[in-house]
């Protein structure tokens, strides 16, 4: 009300102090029942009415909270796996069960080709940890260009490049496949990416 003279605090106070008449409870109940019937609702206790308002929002909020937790955990796990993949290269331990060496994959049919290159390819890395199941022919073939001990991802990439440069596409492809298996998140250079 914008007219100040139409509001009198003393009068307001005096009015508030008048007996606060209320409708009888039976009138209240008749009206409430009519309101419920109009919308097809059943009678509810006061507690049920209060729960109704709260419960409407409880499930949606719980679902939202669950989604947030799951997404957060997923992102955390993915980050850990990525970090682990990047960290594993310099500390790569020999994997006895891993058939990652060139000898393991070198098919007997390639042995003769390997033999031709045996003299030109220096054995840079000691195959001391090579599993005994390696074929003797493979040992006699060209020295394995990519043993798994103490080789960083970058060195391995360079090794693969050298194989390709030497025309040893099959060896390069096998090394590349193994590299991808061990470093799935490593961004391959353009010349090696397919």
């Amino acid at each position: 009300m914008s007219e100040p003279d139409l509001r009198d605090p003393r009068l307001d106070q005096a009015y508030r102090e008048l007996p606060g008449e209320e409708p009888p409870s039976e009138v209240d109940e008749r009206i409430r029942a009519a309101a419920r019937r109009a919308v097809g609702a059943k009678p509810q206790s006061l507690e049920a009415r209060e729960r109704s308002w709260a419960s409407r929002w409880r499930v949606p909020l719980s679902l939202a909270a669950s989604v947030v937790v799951v997404v957060t955990l997923t992102l955390m796990v993915q980050e850990e796996e990525q970090q682990r993949a990047l960290d594993v290269a310099p500390a790569l331990a020999p994997a006895p069960a891993a058939p990652a060496t060139l000898e393991d994959r070198a098919a007997p049919s390639r042995a003769p080709e390997e033999a031709k290159r045996a003299d030109t390819e220096p054995a840079r890395r000691a195959p001391a940890s090579a599993p005994p199941q390696r074929a003797p022919a493979a040992d006699a073939a060209a020295p394995p260009p990519a043993p798994q001990v103490a080789r960083s991802a970058e060195e391995w990439i360079e090794e693969i490049r050298r194989l390709k440069a030497q025309g040893r596409d099959a060896d390069a492809a096998a090394e590349l496949a193994e590299f991808r298996r061990r470093h799935p998140e490593y961004p391959l250079p353009v010349d090696l990416a397919r």
Partner: protein, 186 residues
Amino acid sequence: MTAGPPDEELMLAYRAGEASAFEALYARHRGSVFRYLRRQAGSAAVAEELFQDVWLRLIDARGSYKPRAKFTTWLFTIAHNRLMDHFRARARAALVSYDDDPIDDVAADTPRPDESLARKQVAARLLGAIDSLPAAQREAFVLQQEGELSLEEIAAVTGVNRETAKSRLRYAMAKLRAELREPERT
């Protein structure tokens, strides 16, 4: 300030079928609507009857409710209209003079409720003074007090222009102030 959703939101929820929204609205406004009708109707029994009718009308009208104005303006308009229907049906002589003549003193023809004066001091005198007001002035004052309506809203509820509502309210307040200033009659 009322806690919880606004009245308009509750009424829309009730329109959509949420019975508990009506419960909240009813709890908020049952007292003020009842006292408005009680002050105007002159008897508790009539006020109860009119009060129930007002809320039943609101329930029936829920489907067409649109929050064009404040909910309380709409609610008290329903109450006012029901009151007018009652007076027309009952042809109460006092309400025929539902006028704005500031000189009109219906109190001279209406006995002061002595039992009210006996109960409390200022409050009792005020109650009697309110009852003694011309109906139109009384209604304007009670709508201000019970409905917390603005001048424009009072005008909308009672179907008059702003200046008429202002005049009614001003004269009502002047008479009530004068009553409060007067020494208690013995």
